[in-house]
Symmetry: D2
Subunit: 362 residues, 4 copies
Amino acid sequence: MSNQIGKAFVVTSFGESHGKLIGAIVDGCPAGMSLSSEDIQMDLDRRRAEGDLSTPRHEEDKAEILSGVFNGHTTGAPICMVIWNRDTDSTEYERLHHLPRPGRADYTAYVKYGGFSDYRGGGEFSGRITASFVMAGAVARKVIALSGIEVLAHTVEIGGIPARKVSYQEIKERVAKSEVGCADPEASELMAGAIRKARDEGDSLGGVVEVVALNVPPGVGEPIFDTLEGELSKAFFAIPAVKGVEFGAGFAAAKMKGSENNDPFSVEGGKITSPTNNSGGILGGISSGRPIIARLAFKPTPSIRKPQKTVNLKKMSEEEIVIGGRHDPCFVPRVVVSVEAMMCIVLADLGLRGGQIPRVNR
Amino acid sequence: MSNQIGKAFVVTSFGESHGKLIGAIVDGCPAGMSLSSEDIQMDLDRRRAEGDLSTPRHEEDKAEILSGVFNGHTTGAPICMVIWNRDTDSTEYERLHHLPRPGRADYTAYVKYGGFSDYRGGGEFSGRITASFVMAGAVARKVIALSGIEVLAHTVEIGGIPARKVSYQEIKERVAKSEVGCADPEASELMAGAIRKARDEGDSLGGVVEVVALNVPPGVGEPIFDTLEGELSKAFFAIPAVKGVEFGAGFAAAKMKGSENNDPFSVEGGKITSPTNNSGGILGGISSGRPIIARLAFKPTPSIRKPQKTVNLKKMSEEEIVIGGRHDPCFVPRVVVSVEAMMCIVLADLGLRGGQIPRVNR
Amino acid sequence: MSNQIGKAFVVTSFGESHGKLIGAIVDGCPAGMSLSSEDIQMDLDRRRAEGDLSTPRHEEDKAEILSGVFNGHTTGAPICMVIWNRDTDSTEYERLHHLPRPGRADYTAYVKYGGFSDYRGGGEFSGRITASFVMAGAVARKVIALSGIEVLAHTVEIGGIPARKVSYQEIKERVAKSEVGCADPEASELMAGAIRKARDEGDSLGGVVEVVALNVPPGVGEPIFDTLEGELSKAFFAIPAVKGVEFGAGFAAAKMKGSENNDPFSVEGGKITSPTNNSGGILGGISSGRPIIARLAFKPTPSIRKPQKTVNLKKMSEEEIVIGGRHDPCFVPRVVVSVEAMMCIVLADLGLRGGQIPRVNR
Amino acid sequence: MSNQIGKAFVVTSFGESHGKLIGAIVDGCPAGMSLSSEDIQMDLDRRRAEGDLSTPRHEEDKAEILSGVFNGHTTGAPICMVIWNRDTDSTEYERLHHLPRPGRADYTAYVKYGGFSDYRGGGEFSGRITASFVMAGAVARKVIALSGIEVLAHTVEIGGIPARKVSYQEIKERVAKSEVGCADPEASELMAGAIRKARDEGDSLGGVVEVVALNVPPGVGEPIFDTLEGELSKAFFAIPAVKGVEFGAGFAAAKMKGSENNDPFSVEGGKITSPTNNSGGILGGISSGRPIIARLAFKPTPSIRKPQKTVNLKKMSEEEIVIGGRHDPCFVPRVVVSVEAMMCIVLADLGLRGGQIPRVNR
């Protein structure tokens, strides 16, 4: 049950990094929605490793829909989507079986599953699982689009280099053109440079991704526990390496006064809105009608080429480990689409639960 | 279902700020654990408004156990706990019915529930609901203590004033003595002064609370979605006014290099550990055996005495609102125990799910 | 979590037979529905022990609503309802603590909860828990009435005496007038006589209850597992003493040929219907628009005055037990309203999930 | 979420009769259990259509494990299993698209999913979905075997012809040898004859299957709603065509007196047991240590060759339908293994939840 999220739009993920495949099942998708593997491929391609900034593991990552779609439309039955793994090379991992890599789930998975977990490439703990999220997110993106909702994410910090504040329009236009998924061209270049430097040093970088949902109607989100922040943060933390999540002003709000942080209400074109959005579009866990805004902190890629200290689990002795394998020196650029996916999935789920999204697209 | 959290240790909250009561039901508590209302009262008393730093609403908040306990022990049946509301004064709220207070759930609840939500004191969206969390948390605290786990929270920032780094021992000894729940006496005094100043200006302050779980065995937490970070953050965001959550190094990790952020493994006394704990005791969503560490950002109390702009929902006209009622100028000091409660609840749930905590305390 | 049923209309039950109270929480009830304790009392009164056919334990059973209702309407917040126990006499049970009564949960609860379960009157396993179901069912009855759905149950067999087939109109008119909840006056009298005879012999009788839901629109029920039959049967088996559940032709269908059992489709007044209803209004787990029909087999009351063989759990020796206490010689008449409650609860849940019932009653 | 059952051992089914595949995902299977596709194939082969008593659609039905197993053992990650459909012939169904077959889900699925459901062979409502149940059940069978539990099912009635009472030993030895899954050789022959006769008349037969679980320890099952009867019946009703479920004496108990139906407790070899088992091994929803016994009533196959009345959904006119396609004249023989699968799945789930089955097989 832990490999599953959602109550009305339910996503189950499965598969391993070096196993036969990676997959996702979406249950609860409205019937009658047009859906093809191309819809999914579009998002998946944005996740692909490309250029010299990312891992040399170049998976084609072709999405295949195995069920739930008939005559080009969703049927209401579970949608199973898979990607067959092709470019797997597990030789490295045999050597590392009893040497848990620092910063990875190797050690905790070993303990939890009594040594039986698939240790090749992190098994189900690999960042590769985000390909499942992206597939499910692509379906969710179409679901929320039925209600006019749009989701955008972009890199706002890498290696401590911040991007300047940008407009939603800039995000739409520039993220795809940036090597690092950043809508600020100057920062983008600096970030790319920092990643190359880290890579050449056998090291890695982290960063921050911001995600925005536009046109979410007021009333989405369920009190007390299944709030927008609660459900979104739970989904975000499923992305490996996320160590912090904030909404609206976030941690900065802790330093403000009430009179500064409160968003006053106003009327614009007969609709209630707010000139500011420190709340990130969420009040009491429910959408206010303003854009929903979240930021996610990603730690640097734990798999680095520099030697590190670890423990041999068999001998219980300290050893030095040098990790080979193929890893992104900074996965922030590739993870932008995964962050969007999670926002789409949660909005589809809460929208269906709240009745803002219909169960059949007539 | 949205008023509920957990899968094995399940907490359901109910009640309203100005209704008859506030309550919680715990389902799944191990049978055979000694439990009395005193156990719950102890935590509840820590949440009580006291002194001149908090709301003049002084509820006695006496916990009453209504089911699930027999002969001083839990029976395995649901434990229902309530607090009867006494000191309610709803006159203020009739006036505010169509004037949503900025920063509160008034507007979003109005939209979501078609104007039928209980608007007195925020109804179920009131911070008073945290009394339910504290009651359930007190039960959970005893459950995890069966496995030796201990949870401590403390204020680390108020109004931008940071506390210095403290030891776990200092937290245990000093938090109870501080007016603001802070283990650094100097910072504590500065924070209290800042709150008084904000109060006198009719304004409010926010802050940051850190929570630590000690002695959590490795292996607690469920991949991929029901991770420690995912479940904890979802629980934390149920506390009104939380706008950010981070684990271990958190947002700071985004600025580190992999070689700095990774916690190397070492052996100490025949056990695997790490000299650093940037991961906050969590790898791949599963506990590593090191202390679990989280920080929560709280926005300033939205209910302030300063005039604010809002909209009359009936007339759809902009109006100025001045909020009376009784509110904390900074609820961070009182919320420390609620943060502990959430950590206890999630650890009890994941511990029972993972089998680290037994279902019957024989 | 096991004390809970439903995904959109979620009922949590709590309390014990000889504890302070019996209660239920309904989460997910549409906001804006008128609701008062009288609505609940009406159903509760039908469950009350009265006359000489039932237990001498005469509880007043006054329903009290503690949350979720404001200004006479549901708010969308959890509705907590309780009945305070008054007429409890636990002396009998101290004697029986280590002597499990045959046919009751005494032994299995003892094993499951390590001897810590509340053994007085069966604790949470008492038939008294059905008072919780009836309260939640009364709320659900109002919810499904928003869509015109009506639920009727009646006794169709007691002690092997069958009632003749009756019309829905007869059920509506006669059940309330019958001592045994039976719409066939002749059978009703025979059944009452049989119960009196069994009572006088220190013995007990079982029976069969039929329940019908009228005006359920087609399309209610979720494949593959959350089908109407699946969800209904799970709810029905929560009523103590149910040992069998069948829908439509039920076990009789197993003896028919396909050509006999299939309900042909026809058109009546522009609507699709069927002249027969062997399917009990359910095809593929989904409502067809025809009345939904189920029958539940109840075993005889296990607590009888005749001496029985049991085992002393402390001494592990065989003993004879004579049960005092106060018990119905046949609880079928009193359970009719509980069966209706379960049907109402499941239809409210599936109707809300499927979108046939709105989340806000505007 | 409706395509899923279980809370600790969670089964998700997907796929369609005439789509690419049929599949199941098992989440929560203990790590460290040996598992191969042969384990699954064994059960699947028992479900295969063979001989002249069943459908001429002869699928090879080869199980393939796609994830969750590594080095011959389960890893703790989700186990995805699929069967690729090969022998599909959908021509028949184009003709029937707007002519719902009596007794099938065609009409209700059409309404529920706005005409978008996959109508070929019943889509996800096809009896073929039970192949998913059998695969998941085969995994569950190995899980419960870790605790010594064994599950046996057998045909006890077809076309009104009853089998005589048989011993568990007879079930084990004879079911596999019977054409109709019946442990009584004489009845077996009569049943086979009745099926052939019905088939030759273009008609079909139903029947009753009994299932028994041996060696279930006392204490399995969760009150109040997630009882053994509740969870089992919900699972059983997911098998298409089940119209009734009873436990122990079942509907016959309704005709007994308390003194007849109650199972007295006794001591045998230092263990508590009962000489009779009218309760079907379940008291208060919890296992008593005696064999768990259930019986399921199956309606006759709805797809028959005889002409039937239906309605053209496009023209809303009454029409006669003659169904071609390939169907079992009685699917009871083939469904025996599906019934076992459901029992295994529910026992694995409740055993893991109750802690009777360990999460890691060390």
